[in-house]
């Protein structure tokens, strides 16, 4: 059996992780004020030759990983940028991601799926102080006004009317993203796993294991059990595709009147990999709910069987239950790792704008661990 290369990680992602270790030495992070952001925007626009002035800068709610500000833009810009959103890295967060990559993938899917247009990127934070990206503002809600639910759009009740309208759009977007032509997509900061190899799977285990190596403060033997299992069962990916990486309830907007999906958001975990990975992520119990009969509903809207059948019909691909199972374990591994490591470190060191949220979210490890135990039990029984 060939030796596994446990250092094989996308170069850009590895660099981000190591840069973060250095940045941590700067100490706690104080959330930016609206006036500080306005000054930064003026610097950024001047550097990038954008002849426009930001007005009415104000912080947006939510955002466990990025600071977000909305503002109006007056000047020489296209109509879709008359109102914009600044998406900026805090010093540290629950995940470490790249604004340049996020902008590249948004530009790659623009026109194919409902996503915001990109105005500009401050990839190294030279103007804003932290890496940032500016996109056109798109209206909509993440859940029905009366849908309840918890942080980050979790546990919302979508209701029959909304579910019926959004289900085909949700799956259709999924298929369209996976159909992006990687040869022409200009994803310069992304690495491409080799077709017909285990690269796609290996890079994922390696990346999240590296996060643990660098940022784990507490012991969690269950994670190491999953780690060794994942390395033992790496699946081959025949044809890598563009993945959203965080495709779930809470990460898309829709118009509450027309029930049209207006935007798919939060592309920061996008990468190239196995299509089963996005499916498995959607099937994580935390991102759905159960109906009165106890049947799991993806995004609190539809069954896993419906998702698989519709996806197969739209794409011509066949879902392999074994590969899907592997990526379910991988999803658990990824989610527990981010909550169990980076989230706790940022909360401990005060390096995020939402330290209280990160400390609170760490409690979700208990629920995620239950799912991982169930998944591993299927294989180890």
């Amino acid at each position: 059996m060939p030796k596994i290369d446990r250092e094989a990680i996308e170069p850009r992602l590895a660099q981000l992780l190591y840069d973060k270790q250095e940045r941590r030495k700067l100490g706690p992070y104080i959330p930016r004020t609206a006036s500080e952001i306005e000054e930064g925007l003026q610097r950024l626009f001047a550097r990038q030759g954008i002849n426009a002035v930001p007005r009415n800068v104000h912080r947006m709610g939510g955002g466990a990983s990025k600071e977000q500000f909305a503002f109006d833009l007056e000047g020489d810009v296209r109509p879709e940028f008359s109102r914009c959103v600044l998406r900026m890295d805090p010093r540290e967060g629950i995940i470490e991601t790249c604004r340049k990559r996020e902008a590249q993938v948004l530009q790659a899917v623009y026109g194919k799926a409902p996503v915001p247009p990109i105005l500009c990127v401050d990839g190294d934070g030279a103007a804003m102080g932290q890496p940032a990206m500016i996109a056109g503002f798109i209206g909509g809600v993440t859940k029905p006004s009366a849908g309840g639910g918890g942080p980050s759009g979790l546990k919302a009740n979508m209701g029959a009317r909304v579910s019926e309208a959004l289900t085909p759009q949700f799956i259709d977007v999924f298929a369209k993203v996976h159909a992006v032509d990687l040869a022409t997509a200009r994803l310069d900061d992304f690495a491409m796993p080799r077709s017909g190899t285990t690269d796609a799977a290996l890079w994922q285990v390696n990346y999240w294991t590296k996060v643990r190596e660098l940022e784990e403060t507490d012991s969690l033997p269950l994670l190491t059990l999953a780690e060794t299992w994942l390395y033992d069962h790496l699946p081959v990916c025949e044809q890598p595709v563009l993945l959203h990486g965080d495709h779930r309830l809470g990460n898309f907007l829709f118009d509450e009147d027309s029930l049209e999906m207006t935007a798919v958001l939060d592309w920061e975990l996008a990468h190239i990999g196995d299509f089963h990975e996005d499916l498995a992520y959607d099937f994580e119990p935390l991102f759905g709910s159960r109906d009165a009969d106890g049947t799991f509903l993806v995004g609190s809207m539809f069954t896993t069987g419906h998702m698989i059948a519709t996806y197969e019909a739209l794409t011509g691909r066949t879902v392999d239950p074994k590969v899907l199972h592997w990526y379910k374990v991988m999803t658990s591994y990824k989610l527990i790792t981010m909550n169990h490591t980076s989230s706790i470190i940022a909360a401990r060191d005060g390096t995020n704008h939402q330290n209280a949220l990160l400390a609170f979210l760490a409690a979700v490890t208990a629920e995620l661990s239950s799912t991982m135990c169930d998944l591993l039990s299927e294989d180890m029984a």
Partner: protein, 178 residues
């Protein structure tokens, strides 16, 4: 000894909830969200306060018992060294007063063994270690879900014991594999 920490925390909670938070700018969405999180976390802490020692003790006792009952090592040199180190760590951890620190010390030694057993452990030995870890993890997950039930993430909170039941009434399924 007085006032006890629970009373001190409860007084903070009441002041924040009824005096300070209502004065926070309603238009400041970040500040408003943080108020809700602070209240939720403080309420959980107040619930946890009487039980911290017992909770950590229960988790450590189960981990120590799990490690103590692992089968004799079978396999190559790397996992043999890790198994020996784990035995030594078990003895060391039992002598540490800070039970939370002892738990993580012992857990890390167990994780080291798991990784090396995957490299050169006999398949049957590795299966036994992994099975013991999975069984422990199921109990630990149930304990943690009960501990964090009020955070609102659980899929079946109604099936979980209260903290008083978990510690005060000998909820044996959570305490060990026995």
């Amino acid at each position: 000894m007085t006032p006890n920490p629970t009373i001190r925390l409860a007084s903070l909670l009441q002041t924040l909830e009824h005096v300070i938070f209502p004065a926070v700018d309603q238009k400041n969405s970040l500040a408003q969200e943080q108020c809700g999180l602070v209240l939720g976390q403080l309420r959980m802490l107040i619930q946890h306060m009487p039980y911290f020692g017992e909770y950590h003790g229960m988790c450590f006792a189960d981990l120590a018992e799990t490690v103590g009952q692992l089968p004799a090592h079978a396999g190559g040199e790397q996992s043999a060294a890790a198994a020996e180190a784990l035995s030594a760590t078990l003895g060391e951890a039992k002598g540490i007063n800070d039970v939370l620190a002892a738990y993580h010390l012992l857990g890390r030694a167990l994780e080291h063994l798991m990784r090396l057993a995957a490299e050169d452990g006999e398949p049957a030995y590795r299966r036994a270690v992994d099975s013991a870890v999975l069984a422990f993890s199921k109990r630990q997950s149930l304990r943690a879900r009960s501990w964090f039930k009020e955070a609102g993430f659980d899929h079946a909170p109604e099936t979980l014991p209260t903290l008083a039941e978990m510690f005060g009434h000998g909820f044996v399924n959570l305490s060990s594999g026995g």
